[in-house]
Symmetry: C2
């Protein structure tokens, strides 16, 4: 697989802003030399493409007659919408016509289609969804952020293995530092789930740095935080919400007196730089790890830049042969997984 | 119990800054008319008191010959340090010489002493520790924030009951809105634990507003978020860490060019107001709920203001007869708790 140019199938119909955001993102990537297959209503895609300067870039279109809405339940999306853009895109990967998919649509349905249409890598117990978060230093990986709400230690251990490959192949880290998210730094702190996972991570060849707490996520002192999907999803959404609320409170105070208002205007450049630092579109997608191909789920409110970055991330994942590395990691640690030690 | 003036026992030996922070806080409260019993090394307390203008305020001293360190395990603190300031303070409550205790010492040991020396209210399955967090509007209660890491639905339901009393009696809310912290707003979203808890809360007379997500905590649209102590502790520490990291990043950017630096200086007043809004010393303590008396745990790094606020909170808890209200709430919902419906 290495040395080929990856082809990414992009769900043109997903996301709150639909084709007006997705199609330009696909075009921008194609212009940089990434072959793209846009999947969705062919007429609508063509109308959108006509508005843009596509030049001679490599964009295919594959028609899909149905659309999964945000309200569709994953099981219904699977059974009743077999010709949806998400399902068709997954089939392209399954049949070897594409190497990965990016969708800003219904994330539950996308994960389900990925699992059942593309399929899991042999040995993967539960695919996990990774969040890539900005920190005071470099971005870090939080896994799982919502695909698995009731987990066993072997699931958490595999999340660590898979996040390690993501951090190496996509973020370019040499020896990612893995922390186990719990409620006390010493070994033995946490709930039953975490205590068994600790032993498994400690016995592995991963660069396990021990327990970490909620306060350690954003310092940049670990590259990976492992947790179950319930904790990870609460953590991810709480971070988004808190950053927004702090921003609102600060804005309110800056507007309250005229001198502060003037100060804020002068400092606008700094606020903008700060905004870019914590902008989630930098890593616009949450990769689903453990499948026979990469599936990248974008936020429903993703903008063109976020989708573009997600497509590039998917391509990097394929180019650096992450699926093969996942298989190697699983094989190397099969004894730990089987015996939970 | 109402209409009496509550006497609070204050652990003089706890906290990273020890007596230099705790004793002035106690004196400030005593000057406002709250009777205080300082518990700890009598000689050290007297030396500290001599430095302050205590006037004619009502401060007792009860000597305790031992100190629980931050490294002591809760079980060891209970068994081997029977004359520690924490244990002695708890005995004062048990024997009716005080109505509540405030400690900035080892929180695990304080909770354990509270449970075994003061004892649980009959019917309380697991005492819970509450975090009181600032939001865009009014402060909210997060429960549990770390006392119970492996929970059952009936525990979470009781956390809701107890947080309701705290929000009424201490924060003064008329009909606190209770949300269940999970990973999707619709009923049925979440893990096994949360799904059963949902039904119990829905069938109660509490003002249950349904599921909430991590992003809803800081908007101020709910007054209480119920969760297990693992999730709550991660959420609490993550919030602290993220606020600090965002502050560091913003400060870095504001210093990077001279115009922004000038702007930041002009806006200093707004930054200070913002700092006070999100200052955790406003509610300096985490109340442990479900005991036959109030136990308030302060952050080890609490300053004098934070300890002072914690003492006032403990007094408000007693004055408004929260223990009796907890008993009433438990009795009114005993069928739901017994039958888990």
């Amino acid at each position: 697989m290495p040395n080929i140019i990856p082809r990414i199938a992009v769900d043109a119909m997903g996301g709150d802003y639909g084709l007006t955001v997705i199609v330009p993102a696909a075009v921008n990537c194609a212009k940089k030399g990434l072959p793209i297959t846009l999947v969705g209503d062919e007429y609508m895609i063509r109308s959108e493409l006509e508005k843009l300067d596509t030049g001679s870039c490599a964009i295919d279109i594959v028609h899909a007659s149905q659309v999964v809405t945000m309200e569709d339940k994953p099981a219904d999306a699977m059974r009743k919408k077999k010709d949806s853009s998400i399902q068709v895109a997954c089939r392209l990967v399954k049949e070897g016509h594409a190497d990965g998919i990016v969708s800003a649509g219904n994330s539950g349905a996308t994960v389900a289609c990925g699992m059942f249409t593309i399929g899991r890598i042999k040995g993967v117990l539960r695919p996990g969804m990774a969040g890539i978060l900005p920190t005071e230093k470099n971005p870090m990986v939080l896994l799982d952020v919502g695909a698995n709400v009731d987990c066993k230690p072997e699931h958490l251990f595999q999340f660590g293995l898979m996040a390690d490959v993501l951090a190496r192949d996509v973020l370019g880290y040499k020896s990612p530092r893995i922390g186990l998210l719990t409620i006390g730094e010493e070994e033995g702190k946490g709930n039953t789930l975490v205590k068994t996972t600790y032993a498994m991570l400690k016995n592995s060849s991963l660069n396990f740095v021990g327990n970490i707490e909620g306060r350690d996520i954003f310092t940049g002192d670990v590259d990976i935080a492992v947790c179950d999907g319930f904790v990870g999803n609460v953590a991810l959404k709480l971070s988004e919400g808190l950053a927004k609320s702090l921003g609102n409170l600060l804005k309110g105070e800056l507007k309250r007196d005229i001198v502060s208002k003037l100060g804020a205007m002068l400092a606008m450049k700094a606020f903008k730089r700060f905004g870019r630092l914590v902008d989630k579109s930098e890593y616009g997608g949450a990769p689903v790890l453990g499948l026979n191909g990469i599936v990248l789920v974008c936020h429903g409110k993703a903008d063109t830049l976020a989708v573009e970055r997600a497509i590039e991330m998917a391509a990097r994942f394929v180019k650096n042969d992450a699926v093969a590395h996942l298989k190697e990691g699983l094989a190397a640690h099969s004894e730990i997984i089987d015996r939970k030690i």
